[in-house]
Structures are given as C-alpha cells and as structure tokens.
Symmetry: C2
Subunit: 141 residues, 2 copies
C-alpha cells in the first residue's frame, strides 16, 4: 500500500508525520489509541503533536486505509482497515484484542437483508470475555 500515492492522488500531501503514523499503524501488533501512535511517532519527531495524529487518522479513515474501533471504553482504537469481515474479541483479563475471522458478520448482514427492511452499512461486533490463555492460567491455579 503506497500511502504517498493514495494521498497525492486525492490532492493531499505526504508529510513525514503522515508517513510515520501510517508506518506505526501498519506494523502494529495491537490496536492503537491516538496516544499510542503519538508516543511512537514522537520518538522520531519529538515535536510531533497529538492533534496531528487525530487529523491524520481521520484522513486515513476517509481514504479507507484506517479504521476506528470502539471496544467499550471511551477511547477510540485504530487499525489498518480490513476488507474482510472480522470482529474483535477483547479479553477482560489480559486486555488483549484478537481479530476473529469468520462469516458471522456476513450472517448478520444476510439475516437483516432478508425481509427486515434494514439496509446494513456497517456491522460492529465486539465480544468481551476471557481468552484461552487466561482461562487456562485461571484453571491451573
């Protein structure tokens, strides 16, 4: 994914800050908050400002490159936008967020399309619980 190309193609500029935000997001293992991204990019560009994180994320979202998820608390979490239908499993114990692939989201879509008169645009499915690792640890004790 060449962000520079995408940005310029839409009349936007490629700045070091935007490039860095994208790099951090793209290589992230978890979902990141704006503050996470700010902290990471600041290591390279010390004067980097949180406002720019929000502005960049909003822009990336408009281009369909990034996606914000609400996982239950008041913060927004960010990830690279996935074309596929996935949802999030949030572990109450370790806090990890796992992407879960499956046809469940598609099922929801189909279910609602079938005569319920609701045109689905976006399905947000977040499941809270305890992940396998934490469950095992709890049992072992």
């Amino acid at each position: 994914m060449d962000v520079g190309h995408r940005l310029r193609g839409e009349g936007y500029r490629l700045t070091p800050q935007r490039q860095l935000v994208w790099e951090v997001l793209r290589t992230a293992e978890h979902h990141l908050t704006a503050e996470d991204i700010h902290a990471e990019v600041s290591r390279t560009v010390p004067e980097f400002n949180v406002a720019s994180v929000y502005r960049t994320l909003t822009l990336l979202a408009e281009l369909g490159l990034a996606h914000e998820v609400r996982l239950g608390d008041s913060r927004g979490y960010w990830e690279v936008a996935h074309p596929d239908d996935a949802f999030h499993l949030v572990c109450r114990v370790c806090g990890r967020v796992v992407h879960h692939q499956g046809d469940l989201v598609e099922q929801v879509r189909e279910h609602l399309t079938g005569g319920h008169g609701f045109t689905v645009e976006d399905v947000d499915l977040v499941v809270h619980g305890v992940c396998g690792d934490c469950r095992q640890t709890a049992v072992a004790q």
Copy 2:
C-alpha cells in the same frame, strides 16, 4: 420491578432522584443519554444534578437493572437491561435506534464456545445502516 426493594435489599437507599431516573428509563421509548435523563428528571426536581444521573445509572447497572450501550459516537446510551439477547440497529438517516430480537447473538456465543477457547461474557452488536422507513422515503423521491 420494584427498585426500592432491590436497592434496599443491597443496602442502598431509595431517593426521589433514583426513583425518577428509573421511571424515566423504564418508560422511555428510545435509548437515553445521561443528559436526556437529566433534562427529564429536572422537570420534577429542578436542582437535580447530572452527576447524580451518572451515579444512579452506574448503580442501576451494577444491580443489573440498567444497561449502557455504545452506538458509535462518544456518548453512552442507556436502557433497561434486557435478559434476552438483542442487538441494536442504528439508522444513519433518522437516527432512530431499533432493538432487534433474534438468535444472532446466541449464534456468536455458540460459535466462539465451540473450540475457539474464548469464554464469551458479553456480545455487543451494533449495526449501522438505513431503516425501512427512511429507505422507502429515499426511493419515493
């Protein structure tokens, strides 16, 4: 549902404010924000404070009587807790939030229980789109 009994049973007190918050929530047709509830109760108790709304809602949630939903924006929306598995359809056009009954949430639960090692505690499913009424209006124009 006798809130007074429930509250006192757990060592809490039944105040006019709590009673009113509960009444507003119980008889509401839509999901309400803390501000909505504050405005409504203020009609009866003018000096009623928003802080008390939050404190009361938190308490009602702990007792399992109320439930907070995040519908995508930064606000929390409140409803009477339902024992059944339901999810929310949010219309992008008219803003209405519809409760949708069905076995989809149950399916998610079963799907994850079946060998994925994740113990499900809470399934939050919010679907954004266009409701039947708004769709028809759009087509008719």
